[in-house]
């Protein structure tokens, strides 16, 4: 609850809220973290496996094998989103499925599927980045800030 809402409550409302909070189901934070850790780690393990597979059996180096690995993970997660499997995973694992690149692909694909009845241009094209847009914006801003810090430290700080 926001602090502004809390200020305007009457004593009766406050009494009710304290009573209700007693019966409110507590959020299992530790359990959620543990699940996110396991599932997120499992996705990373699959990614690492794919990476090793690509540089062992194809003409990729360890560095360039990252590109087909990410492409494969995105393709698989988009397919799983289409079949409705990924959402089940996400319900179980929470951030474990949202933080890796598969979560980003899922957010783009699910928005595209959801809005396909509104047409391809204004529906799919326009609404596709409704969820993923924030990730792109904050990713770009964070990269910009980190790049500035790095430039300052390396070029001016002499690190």
């Amino acid at each position: 609850m926001s602090s502004s809402k809390k200020k305007n409550v009457t004593p009766a409302q406050e009494k009710y809220q304290t009573l209700a909070s007693k019966y409110e189901k507590k959020r299992p934070v530790v359990k959620n973290c543990f699940r996110a850790f396991l599932v997120g780690g499992f996705i990373c393990l699959i990614g690492q496996g794919l990476n090793v597979f690509y540089y062992t059996f194809f003409d990729f180096t360890q560095r360039t094998a990252g590109d087909p690995t990410v492409a494969t993970l995105i393709l698989v997660s988009v397919l799983l989103t289409g079949f409705g499997v990924y959402d089940r995973f996400a319900q179980f694992a929470g951030a474990g499925t949202a933080v890796p690149v598969t979560g980003f692909a899922n957010s783009v694909a699910s928005a595209a599927i959801e809005h396909r009845t509104e047409g391809y241009v204004l529906g799919v094209g326009g609404q596709m980045f409704k969820l993923a847009g924030s990730v792109i914006v904050f990713g770009t801003v964070a990269a910009f800030i980190i790049a500035i810090i790095k430039t300052i430290l390396i070029q001016w700080g002499g690190l």
């Binding site: 359990k31 543990f34 540089y55 180096t61 360890q62």
Partner: protein, 143 residues
């Protein structure tokens, strides 16, 4: 009780990684007299690189004036790969100042050099094919 089981489970997960690997005495493959192309420089370079504390294994090949070396670095030292590559390069350069030295910590390069070493040792590769493979390897290192 349930939380205790969960805590133990987490502890088992975290402490499993702390097992120290037994130290093995690794000797680099010496190809000097057996190979199709003389490998004296590579054999020396391998010894130099393997003497570094962070390196646990090394593969290497030489052709004319090019030395290709791929060290395998200890897991926790992988944070300093750039520095390790530079140190390795510099110490080989001291021994062979005129040679062109390529030091790569890429696992693919390590695997390719391992294959080439074996083929050279068993003499199952022609000189022409060896040059072709090295050109491809050069491309991979640069790419």
């Amino acid at each position: 009780m349930k939380w205790l089981v969960q805590l133990l489970f987490i502890l088992c997960f975290l402490t499993a990684c702390q097992m120290a690997e037994p130290q093995q005495d690794i000797k680099p493959l010496q190809l000097t007299n057996k190979a199709v192309v003389n490998q004296q420089q590579a054999d020396d370079a391998k010894k130099i690189v393997l003497s570094m504390e962070e390196v646990i294994d090394v593969k290497g090949i030489t052709d004319e004036n090019n030395i290709y070396i791929a060290p395998r670095v200890k897991h926790f030292d992988r944070f300093r790969l750039k520095e390790i590559r530079k140190n390795g390069h510099d110490s080989i350069k001291k021994r062979y100042p005129d040679a062109t030295i390529h030091v790569s910590t890429d696992q693919k390069i390590f695997m390719e050099l391992e294959k080439l070493e074996k083929e050279l040792q068993q003499r199952t590769i022609s000189e022409e094919r060896f040059k072709q493979r090295l050109a491809k390897l050069d491309e991979m290192i640069k790419g």
